[in-house]
Amino acid sequence: MLFISLVIFLVIKLSPSDPTAGLPLTIPPDVREKIRESLGFNDPFHIQFLLWLKQLVYTEPKFWMNKLWGTDFEVGQRMISYATRSPVMDLVVQRIPQTLWVVGISYIVGILIAVPLGIISAYKQYSIFDQIGTFISMIGFSVPTFFTGVLMILLFSVTLGWFPSIYDTTHEITDWNSFLFQVKQSIMPIMVLGLFNAAQISRYMRASMLENLTQDYVRTARAKGVKERSVVLVHVLRNSMIPVVTVIALNLPSVFGGALITEQVFQVNGLGQLLILAIQGGDVPVVQTVTVIFAVLIVLFSLIADVLYGMLDPRIRYD
């Protein structure tokens, strides 16, 4: 992790990003220099990196412990974002719920669509259903989310007027109606991301099912007179899920990447949007922190995939 964060840091620092680049041309160069200095942008690389590291693993945990358990550690200077001059972690914490809501639900929607789609497509291979499913998943797979997103806005917001085109991030769920509004405003980003996920997973599901359906144990089960339904949904499905679960778990972090663009299109104030604005604004501490969080997620979900293996497949045991 240390290595990843160092590489990220160097990549950001070596790119020609400047926190004052976005300012109007009428602000003179000497004022810009003073701004950079006050941000600590001109300090030597290793000092900046070590300070960031200290703030991430030492200062921030102390602050959050104080906040959660009322402990009384002395908290030093927290990590400050260049653009907002506020603690980076506060920004991150503010944005996680939106990302989890949109990305999380879209992933569940994606799985709920993909698994049955994959099963039926494989069971009735080359049927019309399979052809249509293949076609749709090819579209979902190959058309980028910034295109489907804008297409959906044009269709459902501009032409039909069903859903809002801009996500209201100040909305609070207080009753049934406000919950309905929340569903209405998140339905488009969720569907866009969901389609993308479903496309990918359903392909794996179909391939894995096809492979298992021709296995000997399936014939044995059928010969024993097991109902067709349980042959497919119990015997075959369980075995086919093994590679699919890996894909689901390993893909989860990459969904955040897809969310990057989708969040920007619908203006959902999630982590992805935070990252994009920070990159545009040359806000090094935010870019650094958010990318490292993504890196942590990737490692974490790979681990989860490994553990799930053991549960699904008795042949694999970790001793």
Binding site: T20, G22, I27, P28, K34, I80, I153, S165, I166, L277
Partner: protein, 572 residues
């Protein structure tokens, strides 16, 4: 005297606007019109303009914190928190131009109910002038020696040197007054630690922050202590940020989810299509940004030794003749350029200083294309049509290189102008250079706009604020880029005229507004219609979009676009 008159005019205009409001029946209780929703496709990240120079931050903060005086939509100063604009005539500015005295309107309160006093103004100066604070607006306080507060309603700003135009500090959206009590602990290096104050400054403006999510959204409510009865008409504001210009335009003009969208940088046909949505209209206003052709007065020929190309040593073999430059300008179809490139966001101009009105010269001769006149001028100058269809003189063809930065609109312009020039027998070779190189200013590169290794080049430039002094003095002889200055300098054309230099010096010493305007107009004319050194093409404006139900909007390019948000109301 003139300034007093413009002031009166401004007041009269304001009164007309106010009576217009009454005629529409839009007076009433504060907060009567519910919510207004504004969208900026760049999201505000902080509400303290002193810690961010970004337009999005300055403009969103302008609804909350206010300066002593603002510029109105005509570029005239109007008093906001003060009784009047100090001038030499009314004694507010001392005769030696080293002191300016602001008189604060009595009875103004901060949104927390405490009194607004001169101490807050002095504190604001202290806050921004602290060298460790990294204040983005410190240029506004250039030359300020000390800010004194003889009594709670008087602010005296003393300058180190005489300042003919003392209206920078505490004027306009970039330099609002912040509350001393709130920011007392935030001076210098501590400035960024005051997150709460930076995210929710206490102000004197029409709205108060209730919730701020950085880089996303601001929620505001009407300021109960606002100084004008019955304003603002809206009880709350949602100020959304982020996305892109197209999404923002769509939300106002097509779906009607938002009431106001900032800076619609979109192609004219895209904008027109959106406006067909009928929920909103694009509105535009013009500032000082002018797309222009610059004529090279020196010889850029590659046959000259390096270091002498494009320097005053060698006058341009073709363009030194004023008649040729004039003919080139006459041949251009400016209205067509505007229609293709900018639509509503542009208008043809012949001026380098196109605005504010009081500063702009009455110079419109170039607006109509005159091919025949241009041909005649070239004939007179000795350029006759030769065998190739292009004009020749002494066996040399009239051929020019014309360069600009890479940008779709600019390349369209090049193609049209090339055609225009072909019609009068001038051959043109077009070049386009990546913007980062062209404007990069690298003295080692042969392709920068300063080096000007071409005959004609095109770009846009503007000036900050309403006074063009610094802008016009860029064209004195000594400001020409040349090897000795590492090719730095703003006098791109290498224009050199002793009389012009004299006027520039005079402008630097003149304080009286009407005289300054007179001088500026003369200098503008010398560069444009008299010598055709600079050939202005298009005055580029700003376009925003407003809901058809939103009233009271006056788009302003001299100050924050939201400068008069207190006057906005909902049409019923």
């Amino acid at each position: 005297m003139k300034s007093f008159k413009t002031l009166l005019l401004g007041t009269a205009a304001a009164m007309v606007a106010v009576s217009g409001v009454y005629a529409d029946g839009h007076e009433g209780k504060r907060g009567r019109d519910g919510e207004v929703k504004i969208i900026y496709w760049q999201a505000p990240s902080i509400l303290n303009p002193y810690l961010s120079g970004g337009t999005k931050d300055i403009e969103s903060a302008s609804m909350i914190v206010e300066p002593l005086a603002r510029f109105n939509d005509k570029g005239e100063l109007v008093p906001y928190l003060v009784e009047s604009i100090p001038t030499v005539e009314n004694g507010g500015v001392s005769a030696d131009l080293k002191t300016i005295t602001w008189k604060i309107k009595p009875g103004i309160k901060w949104s927390d109910g405490t009194d607004f006093t001169s101490a807050d103004v002095a504190f604001t100066a202290k806050y921004c002038m602290d060298p460790a604070g990294g204040c983005a607006q410190s240029a506004k306080f250039d030359g300020v020696d000390v800010v004194e507060t003889p009594d709670p309603l008087t602010v005296v700003v003393k300058f180190k040197e005489p300042k003919p135009v003392p209206y920078a500090a505490f004027v306009g959206g970039q330099s609002p007054i912040i509350q001393a009590a709130q920011f007392a602990e935030c001076l210098g290096a501590k400035a960024p630690e005051c997150t709460e104050a930076n995210f929710g400054p206490i102000g004197t403006g029409p709205f108060v922050v209730t919730n701020f999510k950085p880089n996303d959204v601001i929620q505001m409510k009407a300021n109960e202590n606002y100084r004008e009865e019955g304003k603002p008409a809206f009880a709350s504001v949602t100020f959304k940020g982020g996305g892109d210009a197209a999404a923002a335009g769509r939300a106002v003009m097509e779906t009607g989810e938002f009431d106001y969208a900032w800076n619609m940088q979109l192609a004219p046909d895209v904008l027109k299509k959106m406006a067909e949505g009928g929920k909103g209209v694009p509105i535009s206003a013009f500032g000082t940004l002018v797309e222009r052709l610059e004529m090279n007065m020196t010889d850029p020929s590659p046959s000259l030794p390096e270091g002498e190309r494009s320097t005053a040593k060698h006058p341009h073999p073709i363009l030194s003749d004023e008649r040729v430059r004039r003919a080139l300008s006459m041949a251009i179809d400016r209205p067509l350029l505007v229609e293709i490139g900018y639509g509503q966001a542009g208008r043809p101009t012949c001026n380098l200083v196109p605005a504010p009105q009081a500063w702009a010269s009455d110079n419109t001769a170039c607006l109509t294309q005159d091919i025949e006149g241009a041909k005649k001028l070239l004939e007179d100058a000795g350029w006759k049509v030769g065998g190739s269809g292009f004009r020749e003189k002494d066996g040399k063809v009239l051929k020019l290189t014309y360069q600009t930065s890479t940008n779709a609109v600019r390349q369209d312009f090049q193609a049209i102008i090339k055609q225009n020039w072909k019609d009068i027998g001038v051959d043109t070779e077009l070049r386009n250079i990546s913007g980062s190189v062209f404007f990069g200013g690298d003295p080692a590169s042969p392709d920068t706009f300063q080096k000007f290794y071409a005959d004609v080049e095109m770009y846009a430039n503007n000036f900050d604020g309403t006074d063009p002094e610094q802008y016009l003095t860029q064209y004195t002889c000594e400001k020409a880029p040349r090897p000795e200055t590492q090719w730095q300098g703003e006098n791109i054309n290498r224009y050199c005229n002793a009389e012009y230099d004299k006027l520039a010096v005079e402008l630097g010493k003149t304080a009286e507004l009407s005289k300054r305007q007179e001088l500026a107009k003369r200098m503008n004319d010398m560069l444009t219609k008299d010598s055709m050194t600079i050939v202005p093409l298009v005055d580029r404006g700003r376009v925003s979009a407003a809901s058809v139900t939103l009233g009271g909007i006056v788009l302003n390019t001299w100050d924050s676009e939201l400068w008069n948000v207190a006057d906005w109301y909902r049409k019923k």
